[in-house]
């Protein structure tokens, strides 16, 4: 049964055997032709086909139709140039989308580069600094460094110490409040350049509860306000003013990042 089917297929291929040998399309056709090559019947068929094809090649082309042969470009698909590819609406839309996505990604990445444990809280407190008026604080006139005793005695806040770089500044007022995460925040207003200080608990590892430390001073920026943050004894101190990092730099000692 299979043999019969193969024979029938070979016969079918032979009936379609190409006139020119360079048109042997595939292996089954090549196999069928090479098997039959030389048989009288196939030779007759090939001679017959060749004669018909030669006759057809003699079909004259009228001059009116031959004009088309000179203008083949007219029916050729236009070639793609770089300019065309770039100005293609789909390519343009995709390119813009990729640039926007890359921009957002880079923005987030750059933002992350400045991150340190407690930076999120520090940024929130910069907003607080921007909206605080001096009347909102309890008036206190003392050296900033002495307020750590006040915070400990009155509010039970341990290690809420102002670093020595800012300890000598005269205060105008201070207050202690809870932020939206119920963290105790101490805020101090000093006369020097209308600077504000914030003291808040350092960020802790959620699993172990250990304080996440970082060395030296770190800067945070938000809407024209800049803060310099330092962490010591599980408490972060942040000095804030409206301006730029270079305005805070003269007050800081030790490594700055």
């Amino acid at each position: 049964m299979r043999t019969l089917r193969l024979l029938r297929r070979r016969r079918a291929l032979l009936n379609c055997a190409p006139i020119s040998h360079d048109r042997l399309a595939d292996r089954p056709m090549r196999a069928a032709v090479s098997r039959e090559n030389g048989s009288d019947e196939f030779v007759n068929q090939q001679n017959f086909d060749r004669a018909v094809a030669e006759l057809i090649r003699l079909v004259p082309i009228p001059p009116e139709s031959a004009e088309w042969f000179l203008d083949k470009e007219a029916i050729r698909a236009p070639r793609w140039t770089w300019r065309k590819i770039v100005l293609n609406p789909a390519v343009l839309a995709i390119s813009i989308a990729v640039v926007v996505i890359a921009g957002v990604f880079a923005f987030h990445l750059l933002g992350r580069l400045d991150d340190f444990p407690g930076s999120a809280t520090a940024r929130k407190l910069l907003t607080v600094a921007g909206s605080t008026r001096s009347v909102m604080l309890d008036p206190v006139s003392a050296e900033a460094g002495t307020l750590s005793d006040l915070f400990f005695m009155k509010h039970g806040l341990e290690h809420y110490d102002v670093p020595e770089e800012f300890a000598d500044f005269q205060t105008i007022g201070c207050r202690v409040f809870d932020d939206d995460e119920s963290q105790r925040i101490a805020q101090i207003w000093v006369g020097e350049k209308h600077m504000q200080f914030f003291l808040f608990p350092a960020e802790r590892d959620t699993k172990t509860g250990a304080v996440l430390t970082f060395p030296g001073w770190r800067y945070v920026r938000q809407e024209g306000w800049v803060g310099a943050v330092k962490q010591q004894n599980g408490v972060c101190f942040m000095a804030v003013l409206k301006g730029r990092e270079k305005d805070l730099e003269p007050y800081l000692s030790g490594p700055k990042e």
């Binding site: 297929r9 016969r11 079918a12 291929l13 009936n15 379609c16 190409p18 006139i19 020119s20 048109r23 042997l24 399309a25 595939d26 056709m29 019947e41 007759n44 068929q45 001679n47 017959f48 086909d49 060749r50 004669a51 018909v52 094809a53 030669e54 006759l55 057809i56 090649r57 003699l58 079909v59 004259p60 082309i61 009228p62 009116e64 139709s65 031959a66 088309w68 042969f69 083949k72 007219a74 029916i75 050729r76 698909a77 236009p78």
Partner: protein, 160 residues
């Protein structure tokens, strides 16, 4: 498009074989190319290979619909003779074209595409949308019928 896919002289010959009439072949050839030029200008050229031949084929079939249709009669068939090649050489191209154009489709398309000697059988199956068995039958029957016609023509000529 490669030159083979856009072999315009062969496209014209294909139209001529399909229609057997110089004027009609020219009309279909020109219309097909005009339409292709418009589509090229709009950047809407089809991506398939040999689409020009496919388009021309449908136009030829459409154009010949209006013609007188051949009666379906039993056509003689003869085995291919060894002297067939010399018999064919005595024909005019137009005579052969008329004979092919009188064949019913798909035999007409099969013969026209095959004897252009432009395509391999796989490409013919694609352009004419045929199966191997049908193409094989059309060609085998076509050869035998053409041989019978050649024999009749030559025996008639020798009697004269």
């Amino acid at each position: 498009m490669s030159d083979r896919k856009q072999n315009l002289p062969q496209l014209y010959r294909f139209c001529f074989l399909m229609l057997g009439d110089l004027r009609k072949a020219q009309d279909v050839f020109n219309t097909t190319l005009r339409e292709a030029a418009v589509r090229a200008a709009q950047g809407e050229l089809p991506k398939e290979s040999f689409w020009l031949f496919r388009e021309a084929r449908w136009r030829c079939l459409e154009a010949s619909k209006m013609d007188l249709q051949p009666e379906s009669v039993q056509i003689d068939e003869h085995d291919i003779a060894p002297q067939a090649a010399s018999q064919i050489k005595q024909l005019e191209p137009a005579q052969l074209a008329i004979w092919i154009s009188a064949a019913p489709d798909p035999q007409r398309t099969a013969l026209a595409l095959f004897y252009l000697d432009e395509f391999n059988y796989v490409e013919i199956l694609d352009i004419a949308e045929l199966k191997l068995g049908t193409l094989s039958r059309c060609l085998a029957q076509g050869r035998r019928q053409l041989q019978a016609w050649l024999d009749a023509k030559h025996s008639g000529a020798s009697k004269e």
